[in-house]
Symmetry: C2
Subunit: 350 residues, 2 copies
């Protein structure tokens, strides 16, 4: 557990990013509530008065700062480390929601928070060292090695099958189609973002990488991947409940990103089997915490907003196949809900 | 993660012990059900027909085998490793209950199982090596070192305060009093059981330890500690709901045992900070899984047996101060319940 300076910077940036993004949810929600009080029209039913509310804009800026910190973190530490730490933003927002918005956190939600923190600690303790990179050409070489080309090829084929065969057939009835597409693209987004971030970091340090076409190629790939990912994430969130999409997306996106990073950057080379096992375990613990937080959040919501909670069906599995109309209706029932979906859209983007 | 042969033996024995104990619950419960069908009188309302049911006896024997395996495991591997693995018996019984007794496992209960397993993996991966011990005199020396005498002294003082001051006052209204006493005594039980087990192991290996008075002293201490612990565990289980007592007891007992073992056997000496952190995290993950399993078990039970489940109160915290009469009534409502309390009494004993 001896951290290089770069790894440390990456961890701190990833943590800061989670704090900023988590806080931004709360500030934006407070802004929305205030706007609703002033104008009497809620965002969920078509009001745009929140655009005049300074608090909402402060929330927006906080989120952008968080996303930038996240982007820079990728330039310093392995994706295997940075991506799972993103789950901490959920804790920050859950804790602040309880303190500032006086929303009640389910006792099992507290357990979910504890698990996210514990899992993150395990991941951080066993995080691999970032291999020093001195030029964008090196990253290009890593991205064009056989194993990674195979991964990239499989991802692209899978995405095509999902987009052209499954999406028209059951994209609106099976939550795994849209979230699958954006998770698959997301793993490529992170790899290209990391490549671009590292190039820009090297440029800032005095080793200009903008003279190489590879840097511009990565920039183009970032644009394509992020736009596709965002597009399908929006589709997923428009079609299904945030509480269903978020944990599934988090699981698939983080898993695929770790796989991609392990193949491309060989994060696990030189690590012993114990460390790798611990990292995977830490990751599963964070996932469990995330699922627990989301499931219990939904319980609280169901009971307070809809009233008819049955103890045998708060499970994720039973809600995997929501029909379009039904869940979309849920989304519009309450302003904070659709707004949260809106902000989560950006939170989960990279 | 290089295991010594002894550590490996200890881990396998601890796992086997969990399988046996977990299975024994199910066999005994099946035996009880059969006995109830044959005689028409349930154990909960005073029937003893289960004593004529061979299945019940097979369950009893399975449990005793499991307890012996557990006892022997302590002679081979550190308590820091063996004690937390005890949680796996809960998983075995939960899984078998679903398969054999067709009891429905809450989806969050499945998550609890996953957490117990993942936490156990982390603990096993980072388990310290057992220091080789060649004589009971060595263990006696460890038990009489200043730090451990201080621990033992504090435990005894605390137990006295709890027994003579708190037990008469609020033993029947606060679940922490009785469970506290048996957890404190439990940590001393495990230490003395480990000492005795190691002496017997050495004797079997040809180095006769029965000639030393220390072995007999440990035998006496085991008896005193286990009897006190059992006595107060029975009181706790008679007064409060098993679903309340079990997780609290597991948390306190395991924590105190780890503390005692770390002080007495210096399990953490020579381990780096990363391994120790991971072990603690793994332990917290197992605890969370246990809590999740117990809480959701209670939910299922509440909904199927009592009908009036409110989503805001399945928490442990809200049930910490059950009154005597109320919870005792629950205990007697259904035979499987009181029988399970009965078997858990033995499961949790050491």
């Amino acid at each position: 557990m001896v951290f290089s300076k770069d790894n440390m910077t990456g961890i701190i940036l990833a943590l800061l990013s989670s704090v900023f993004i988590g806080t931004s949810f709360i500030i934006k929600k407070k802004g929305l509530r205030r706007a609703a009080v002033v104008s009497g029209v809620r965002a969920g039913v078509g009001g745009y008065s929140y655009l005049l509310e300074p608090l909402w804009w402060i929330g927006m800026i906080t989120m952008i700062v968080g996303e930038i910190a996240n982007f820079v973190a990728y330039a310093f530490a392995p994706a295997v480390l940075v991506t799972p730490l993103g789950a901490l933003s959920i804790i920050v927002s859950a804790v602040l929601a309880q303190i500032i918005l006086k929303e009640k956190l389910h006792p099992l939600g507290v357990l979910g928070c504890v698990l996210c923190i514990i899992g993150s600690v395990v991941i951080v303790v066993h995080a691999p060292q970032e291999h020093p990179i001195s030029s964008v050409k090196e990253i290009w070489y890593m991205a064009t090695q056989k194993a990674f080309l195979l991964y990239m090829g499989s991802v692209i084929v899978l995405v095509f099958i999902l987009v052209f065969y499954f999406a028209p057939q059951c994209g609106h009835s099976n939550v795994l189609v849209f979230t699958g597409i954006c998770s698959l693209m997301g793993s490529l987004s992170v790899m290209s973002v990391k490549a671009l971030g590292t190039s820009l970091k090297l440029t800032v340090e005095g080793k200009n990488q903008l003279i190489y076409p590879e840097t511009w190629a990565f920039m183009f790939i970032v644009a394509v991947c992020v736009v596709t990912q965002m597009n399908y994430l929006n589709k997923a969130l428009d079609t299904f409940n945030t509480a269903v999409v978020s944990p599934i997306y988090y699981v698939m996106f983080t898993t695929l990103t770790i796989v991609a990073s392990v193949i491309m950057f060989k994060d696990w080379d030189g690590q012993n089997i114990g460390s790798i096992t611990s990292e995977i375990c830490g990751f599963i613990v964070v996932l469990s915490g995330t699922i627990l937080l989301h499931v219990t959040k939904d319980v609280e919501r169901s009971s307070s907003f809809r009233g008819n909670y049955t103890p045998t069906s708060p499970s994720l599995s039973t809600r995997l196949c929501n029909s379009n109309g039904e869940s979309h209706k849920h989304e519009e029932e309450d302003e904070s809900y659709s707004e949260e979906a809106d902000s989560r859209r950006q939170d989960l983007q990279v």
